[in-house]
């Protein structure tokens, strides 16, 4: 049986009609949605714009120097370290992560026992050998950043956290070490400082401290 032939023009109209209809249906009822991942409840955090030097200065002034944040008595810490470093770390120190160094925030007074190129050795009483060294050269490490436990760094990038350590070390060198320049052997000295002991080291512990506040009296 012969089928009725559809004219060429009508055929194209039917195809165009189907196409338009398909586009309209897909537009009204899309089979999938493209959404940025930030729109599904998660967004990449931008770490740019953190004012690390300003934050370091505020932290220095409001926390590290402040007597409201108590430090341990230097003589007690030294005595405990000489007896049992692990116990001393547990009693007076603080750790920032898993393993590694223990940080100490100490205050104390004593006499300048000696001075060398690394710093000023203080006799805080009790121990036979001075085991407290206030650094006068470059300050390295994270003691000033991590010793109080008041900073929650877990939301910052590691680069910002490291930069904060550098800034705080710089403040120790520029603000606190200046007072040590006038120190002479035998002078009385009062100080507040932060330092670290490495538990992987088996050497006799010496408190190598980054000064925070120093008063020297001849």
């Amino acid at each position: 049986m012969a089928r009725a032939r559809i004219p060429e023009r009508s055929r194209w109209r039917i195809v165009a009609g189907w196409l338009v209809g398909t586009v309209v249906v897909l537009a009204l009822f899309p089979p999938f949605h493209i959404r940025p991942l930030s729109a599904v409840g998660v967004a990449q955090k931008a770490s740019a714009g953190v004012n690390v030097p300003g934050f370091a200065e505020r932290f220095w002034d409001e926390k590290l120097v402040s007597p409201a944040v108590p430090g341990s008595e230097a003589a007690a810490v030294v005595a405990a370290l000489v007896q049992d470093p692990a116990l001393a770390a547990g009693k007076y120190g603080r750790r920032a992560g898993v393993g590694g160094k223990t940080f100490f925030l100490v205050s104390g007074a004593g006499r300048v026992a000696s001075i060398d190129q690394t710093g000023v050795w203080i006799d805080v009483g009790g121990a036979q050998t001075p085991r407290v060294l206030l650094l006068t050269g470059p300050v390295f490490g994270n003691a000033l950043r991590d010793v109080t436990g008041l900073l929650n760094l877990s939301d910052d990038s590691s680069a910002d956290s490291n930069s904060l350590s550098r800034q705080l070390n710089h403040l120790s060198e520029t603000r606190a070490q200046a007072a040590l320049q006038g120190a002479r052997v035998g002078a009385s000295i009062a100080f507040r400082a932060a330092g670290e002991i490495d538990d992987a080291s088996q050497a006799v512990p010496v408190l190598r401290l980054a000064p925070i506040r120093v008063e020297v009296r001849p």
Partner: protein
């Protein structure tokens, strides 16, 4: 038979078919044994023995905790890592333990998993988003490099010419190590860096790069490398140039080869990372997450220890702290 008469029969057949399907499904569910959640260990490369320890410890710890665990090797290729994530999202894994190929590039992969409600925990290699991950367990590379650099300064007597070989330039560990190192070494004006080049954390690449640097700078005192594989490659190049033993080579990682080389006096020092501690920590976190816990620290630093010829004998079991 009229069309109206067929309608109830069709409905009855549809209901009967649905009931049959439900019954079959229930029967198969009750008959199938309970499958434990699966954990994916997506590792940046298995070409480096250090990462093999990291991956295998994570996998074994996950198995110990009762999960099926699979290692996916990204071969330091972000595209391969992306393909692994597509795969594991589609397969419905319960958690991902990730050592990323790219600090920025891997964020999208972690976000994809997060969007599919699959928690991601990074180990060793940081990605630049705390939103994309539940927790990042990382070596304190900066602090380790500071300790290493202080030993470097003391060993060289505060003066000398040195070369630095960087790792992958798009990896945060590369820059945290380099910045930690320079935060110390740059304070000593008589220590001069005569060349700084990337060797992609790769031993053979470090050999080539070091050979090329030695053509231009034969008179050096030390090489600081961003990992142990590069340190061993650099040492090989120095040996070939007749400078082995005279130039101090410093690595980072604490790989078995490097520790052995320090004991033999070939390398000067390295910084021991603890891949087993990191791997066990993230596997434990994933287990706790799957069991319902939701409060985890965004970042957990793992301490890094300096290894020199003074203390090398104490670091016998790579990846485990000597006191643990």
């Amino acid at each position: 038979m009229s069309r109206v008469g067929l309608q109830p029969i069709r409905m009855l057949m549809a209901v009967a078919l649905a009931a049959l399907l439900c019954a079959c499904n229930a029967a198969s569910e009750s008959a199938a044994p309970h499958r434990p959640a699966r954990i994916a260990v997506v590792i940046s490369t298995l070409n480096n023995p250090w990462f093999v320890v990291l991956a295998e410890t994570a996998r074994d710890e996950a198995k110990q905790l009762g999960y099926e665990a699979t290692i996916f090797d990204s071969q330091n290729d972000p595209a391969k890592e992306a393909a692994h994530f597509e795969n594991l999202v589609a397969s419905g894994y319960g958690a991902v333990l990730l050592s990323a190929t790219d600090a920025d590039g891997s964020v999208a992969n972690a976000l994809r998993a997060r969007a599919a409600h699959i928690p991601v925990f990074t180990m060793d290699r940081e990605i630049n988003s705390t939103e994309a991950t539940v927790s990042q367990v990382l070596s304190d590379n900066y602090d380790g490099a500071v300790s290493l650099a202080q030993y470097f300064v003391a060993t060289l007597g505060e003066r000398g010419r040195y070369v630095e070989l960087l790792g992958l330039v798009n990896d945060n560990n590369t820059w945290n190590r380099s910045k930690g190192f320079h935060s110390v070494v740059d304070r000593y004006p008589n220590l001069k860096m005569v060349a700084q080049q990337s060797a992609d954390f790769d031993r053979s690449r470090a050999l080539e790069v070091m050979e090329s640097i030695l053509q231009a700078q034969p008179d050096i005192d030390a090489v600081f490398c961003g990992n142990d594989a590069m340190a061993l490659g650099a040492y090989q190049a120095l040996l070939g140039a007749g400078r082995g033993g005279r130039v101090k080579v410093f690595g980072f990682d604490g790989s078995a080869d490097a520790v052995q080389s320090i004991a033999q006096g070939k390398l000067a020092a390295t910084a021991m990372q603890y891949p087993k501690v990191m791997a066990r920590t993230v596997a434990g976190f994933a287990d706790r997450y799957i069991k319902g816990e939701r409060r985890f620290p965004a970042r957990v630093p793992i301490a890094v220890d300096l290894i020199t010829h003074h203390n090398v004998s104490r670091f016998v079991d790579r990846g485990t702290r000597p006191n643990s």
